[in-house]
């Protein structure tokens, strides 16, 4: 950090996360609201680290049933079949649509896992108070923020399949419990990303205004 780099919090200033306006915080800065938009002002998102851990751990736990339990059950004249996320990818791969298998693999397996591991890494880096490579870690945070919703893909695939394949005697598809677990994982990791304050990535531990 060069000498000319002054952060707002060092001067007791705070940027409003509602409207982006700059305000001066009096004292500890509790219970203050932005004059322009009325949003509660905080130097940093309150309890950022603890809340991110809570969402993240819940996501890790639900990730297990999301992968082990069936995502959907297909019943047809030729018998019944259960599909997990991974067997769905394998099915697409073997049926010749390798490009779609790749899309589903990236959205349903690669993105959620990368996201959870990266958040874990960012949280540890904040708790250790690392200041090196803050720019790279901020970029990682931006990527996580951007890819968040794309993991919802498989939930939508199941929704459409269940609605369409209701051909009484020929074939029916029912959603499996993994759909609910997987939806919850996506929502929880999005909450975790939102709870993490990227400004903490730039600060040594003693400066944390949590």
């Amino acid at each position: 950090m060069s000498d000319s780099d002054v952060t707002a919090s060092q001067l007791g200033l705070c940027v409003c996360h509602g409207c982006g306006g700059l305000s001066r915080l009096a004292g500890e800065g509790h219970d203050m609201c932005c004059r322009r938009c009325g949003t509660a002002l905080h130097l940093r998102k309150p309890n950022s680290v603890a809340r991110t851990w809570a969402f993240l751990i819940a996501a890790y736990i639900l990730y297990v049933p999301a992968n082990v339990l069936p995502m959907m059950r297909t019943g047809s004249l030729f018998g019944a079949q259960s599909d997990t996320i991974m067997s769905g990818v394998a099915y697409l791969w073997h049926s010749g649509s390798w490009h779609l298998a790749l899309v589903v693999f990236i959205a349903s397996i690669l993105i959620p896992l990368t996201k959870m591991f990266s958040l874990t890494f960012l949280l540890i880096s904040v708790q250790r108070g690392w200041t090196e490579r803050a720019l790279e870690r901020t970029k990682l945070y931006r990527v996580l923020d951007f890819v968040g919703p794309w993991s919802m893909l498989d939930v939508y695939v199941v929704t459409i399949l269940v609605a369409l394949v209701q051909l009484k005697t020929l074939a029916t598809i029912q959603p499996g419990p993994a759909a609910a677990a997987f939806g919850a994982v996506v929502v929880l990791t999005m909450f975790a990303t939102m709870a993490l304050d990227p400004r903490l990535l730039w600060e040594p531990k003693e400066n944390h205004h949590v």
Binding site: L22, C37, A134, V157
Partner: protein, 202 residues
């Protein structure tokens, strides 16, 4: 408010002077390169046009079936709401609510709130409670997932294509247009300039 000449980066908290931007310019943080704000030429007119387009396409996309299926004389088609209903009937209320919220409710709220802000401004009037509306818009935006939904539909169609005859519905094309116009509307809807309007009118 301290000074209108200064701003702090929302991602790394660096205090810096606001640059004066040419039309179409983007101000980035000096340290972490986060986009601080931008100046969009004709922001109001363009955002309004795209949002109106998105509103019309959204209505069409929700009124007609997205896809149909034909197997040996059995035919079945579903609209978006129909899909939500059938998931609900399969005792998956949570998943149904999630799909309903991210593909119907939140995009609808997003489009209506943008119109609520843009239409009065076009007639040079400040909409009531504008700051509250802008805040709600910011908080719902990450949960609007129409693009992901359409990719999901396409994956489902390919999975079904070799089992049955798949008929793309009117809503599928409307959804395609909706993604484009909604993305363009969000890109031209300049929150920073709208907040400045709120300040000027205080």
């Amino acid at each position: 408010m301290i000074s209108h000449a200064l701003t702090a980066c929302h991602e790394c908290d660096l205090l810096q002077r606001k640059p004066i931007l040419p039309s179409g310019g983007i101000a980035c943080c000096r340290r972490c390169k986060a986009v601080l704000f931008r100046r969009t030429p004709n922001s109001l007119d363009r955002a309004l046009a795209y949002t109106l387009g998105a509103a019309i396409l959204f209505i069409i996309a929700n009124m007609f079936p997205i896809v149909g299926l034909e197997v040996q004389g059995n035919a079945n088609a579903t609209s978006l709401y129909g899909a939500v209903e059938s998931i609900w009937k399969n005792d998956m209320e949570g998943v149904a609510s999630l799909v309903f919220a991210t593909t119907i409710l939140i995009p609808a709220v997003e489009i209506s709130l943008m119109l609520y802000v843009l239409v009065p401004l076009k007639f040079e009037r400040l909409p009531r409670k504008m700051s509250a509306i802008l805040r709600i818009l910011q908080s719902v935006r990450p949960w609007s997932m129409t693009q992901v939904f359409i990719l999901g539909v396409l994956v489902a169609l390919v999975k079904l294509a070799h089992l049955a005859h798949v008929v793309p519905g009117v809503a599928l094309w409307a959804f395609g247009g909706l993604i484009l116009s909604l993305t363009a509307a969000v890109a031209t809807f300049n929150t920073h300039e709208l907040w400045n309007l709120v300040t000027e009118n205080e």
